[in-house]
Symmetry: D2
């Protein structure tokens, strides 16, 4: 039954699967690998799955464009959870392979920039070819098509490979953010450490449009955690922006900022309000003065009294 | 009975009286001149009068500080109407006086800058001394204390004087704005060409405070028509701002801007929403896109749907 | 000879004279009281005096409009010094007068709001009439025209009066700021605690004009200490702004902000850069990061290198 | 000799080669395909090539991250030219293949989102696997590893394939922007229709940092044409921004904005000023009032006079 089924960006043995298994509920769900982000999300749209886990942001590569673009277009979906996973690659090879033997390497295109410097230094002559996924790269090594694959160390056993080198990551603190995506429904209640995701289309491309967008947030004291431009498909220079803002859509300051955007932008798509991974309410910064719900309510009372002549 | 009594900045024969008589209702009220703006307004505060007409802005002198300061402090009052009156002075003297005989002139201190250049050119040696009002200056001329007084030509007869020169005004388009002030009550309904007056105190005097104040209006597309700094009395450099904004407090964009100010400023005093003098709804500029009531309501609906998961 | 002559807003016995005498150089100058601010400044313009001391800002009344308007128009003048003087009034009367006998009071119009509450409480029935100056008010009391005058206690002896009450000031910290004005010349070198005064005309009165003006300062980290709107004389709603900014015109951040204003505003008048009264370089706040002269120079070097392809 | 050698993102038969061949000078250069963007650029850094042509922005995929990241880090390079190329794919297969026979397709990962919808509609069951380049995909089809490849129609002959379908592109106006990159040198003189590219690192990640960055441009009237966030590699949420601004680094408004950024941001990398492809000086929008070089010079003159006291 679809309510017990979660899809994820497969195949088995990817970081996405590892991220999915960190969710407690994963133990009681049927986890189904899909060949692509669109496939994983379409299963949710079609009702074949209750939710999908897909990567959305990577500390090396930035926004995962397939995910951002899928969430921005097509039937609306909503984010309910995020998962942060530290990313370190192992270089997997068939048993008996020495590092010096490696002439061809493979891996997911997103992995490449994360191991680019390592490759330059350690295997400067190795030829990189992209695979559909890190796990798929491991399979191609198993089949003998490449000498070695970058993948999670946990994928070695599945494909009968051995890690030649482990803990490879060009950047310190390499991590990937994944989101659990479902069909639209009322977001979970605020926890005090929440995040709200939206996609915002700018209008007539007038010069100050992005500045105005940011001011809608700034004037209400809403901090932004991510702003990622994405082409709209309408030609070079036409962009929409994927934005993650601190706070929950039911926080007054967030709601008022979103309404402001809705009024001045041709299109705003709400992608969900959900708890921030690894952050508790106690860790969040102090709100700017004048932006708490209590202050919004007090100001609304004052306005009502003023409109009534009771000053 | 107080409901039929209007006070005004007297004495009889001032421009304020002339402005008051342009209101149709003046014909059915008892009009009582008062010695000062505070006296005229205190009569309203005490219930001795239903309303007071006082000058508030002058195209030469700027804000009338006595009025601004009285409205900003003490028991709250509210503005219900504004009147615009073109200002031109006559130089009034006792019959038989020639211009060359005039060695001393008088008038209200506010009149002085409006005739300063005229005096410099035509009576460079005449000594100016201020009178409590233009009309009072005329009286002092009648008593022989000064040779001539600047006042409205209409004051000549009352004091047995003759106009030596008429239509004196240094600036083109000289006019004064008067307001009809009463005790706080629900403002009249919007006419489509309204103005909202507030006094706003800035907080801890941090450098960007005024910029933030203006942005609360700008981000909601509310135009300002007047911004006048007034000292708070707490020492040099401490200011509050009297602001006139286009629109009515029941316009959503105005209400949201006022609530924003209420949240970030230590004090906001609402002084009323009232029709703009000499401007009809047809004359007002087009609203900035995204700031009409209809667009506010549409955005609020969208937010409610989003909070519910009905995207 | 004019180089040794300073004019001031007279007559003798005013606060302005007291302020002027706080300047060390006053001891070696001929100090000449003038009947009005325009007269004091015209003497400088005409070469009859080297400088004039006039009041410019008052912690109760705000900007002194006669001074602001004179500096904003006519032949250019420049401010070279500022003086701060605490203001407290004495109520002066002829010897033998009791407080209960006082039915009429006088004083400079600017004094009135500073003693308004005191009058309301202690002499609620006394009639106020304005005099040309506080000292002139004292003279009129001497002549018997009024019962008492508000003036500086130091004026009592000059006019044969006695102080009935002293230390009268509605507001705590009441003080007046005076400026020493001369013909334009190169400003004194920066002291590290300087102030720059300008008058800025806004353009076509488009809604965001004041916001843009403030942003020219804000983006360069220049703090404003005063912003005072003044009517331009072109009709209700047309304003220019007298602005005092922290810093000296030779500070790069101030110079760049002024050039920005010069480009976007129809008219900017530079009124001088001069040391702040009562503030030493050690007392001034920290500059915002990126706004010191050293950082401006470093950035200019970087730009020159970049334009040259030496990155 | 390296001065006659241009590298490009190969292999032969890619869109990049097609773009490079639109440059007149390409006819007299030795054109060398490289396996990756880093390889093409390293050849320039090493002196093995005078310049490299690489894709930088794609109307479907957005910024080409490998190029942006390579330009942002490592030895400085500079952009001297841009080329716009309309992008349409052909589906290439071995002779005799029918569309219905196609079970596996390949192509560059960047091609995938540009044909995603076409695939969904026309070949919903085909399995996509990424190739190192579009041309490489064609080679893999030639070798029989996949049934069909998305590539430029011009690549068919090289690999002995036939186009099954041509002119495939999900989005209207699909085009790619390429840049010609060389070692740093003085940029070409302004043409009146220029573009300036920079990478800007934000500081301590305080909430308003991006807003401040945009205001440095806005206050000088410099329009932005592209703003693309890129992770700095310092962990999720740490971004730098690749920005394309209208104008040339020798335009005063652009230079002043860049200096402003240099002062407030920890790092700014200038990537070049170069002519805009497909736009002549006659096509560019009107400058905002107050931002022309003439107005900058006039304001600088005014400042110098003011600093000298010659107002």
């Amino acid at each position: 039954m679809s309510a017990t089924r979660y899809t994820y960006l497969g195949p088995e043995g990817t970081f996405t699967e590892a991220a999915l298994r960190t969710l407690p509920e994963a133990a009681t769900r049927e986890l189904i690998p899909m060949v692509s982000v669109p496939a994983a999300l379409d299963a949710v749209r079609n009702g074949d799955a209750a939710a999908a886990l897909v990567p959305i942001e990577n500390s090396v590569e930035g926004g995962v464009t397939a995910t951002l673009d899928e969430l921005a277009s097509g039937e609306p979906l909503m984010i309910y959870r995020e998962v942060l996973l530290p990313i370190a690659f192992a270089l997997l090879a068939r048993p008996g392979t020495a590092l010096a033997d490696v002439k061809t390497v493979t891996g997911h295109p997103v992995a490449q920039p994360q191991v680019r410097n390592w490759l330059r230094n350690r295997l400067p002559d190795a030829l990189w070819e992209s695979a559909a996924s890190n796990a798929d790269g491991a399979r191609l090594v198993q089949e003998g098509r490449y000498d070695a694959a970058f993948a999670g160390e946990f994928a070695a056993a599945t494909y009968g490979l051995e890690p030649l080198v482990t803990d490879i990551h060009d950047a310190e603190n390499a991590e990937t953010r994944f989101v659990l995506v479902g069909r639209p429904a009322r977001p979970a209640s605020p926890t005090g450490a929440d995040k709200t995701s939206v996609v915002i289309w700018l209008g007539d491309d007038h010069p100050g449009a992005l500045l105005e967008l940011l001011q809608e947030f700034a004037v209400r004291g809403v901090n932004l955690m991510l702003i990622q431009s994405r082409p709209t498909g309408a030609g070079i220079g036409n962009y929409c922006f994927a934005v993650d803002a601190e706070g929950h859509i039911t926080d007054r300051r967030v709601g008022e900022a979103l309404m402001g955007l809705k009024r001045i932008c041709p299109k705003v798509r709400f992608l969900g309000s959900y708890p921030r991974a690894g952050v508790s309410a106690a860790d969040t910064g102090k709100l700017r003065a004048g932006t708490s719900d209590a202050e919004f309510i007090e100001a609304a009372d004052w306005l009502a009294r003023s409109q009534d002549g009771r000053t």
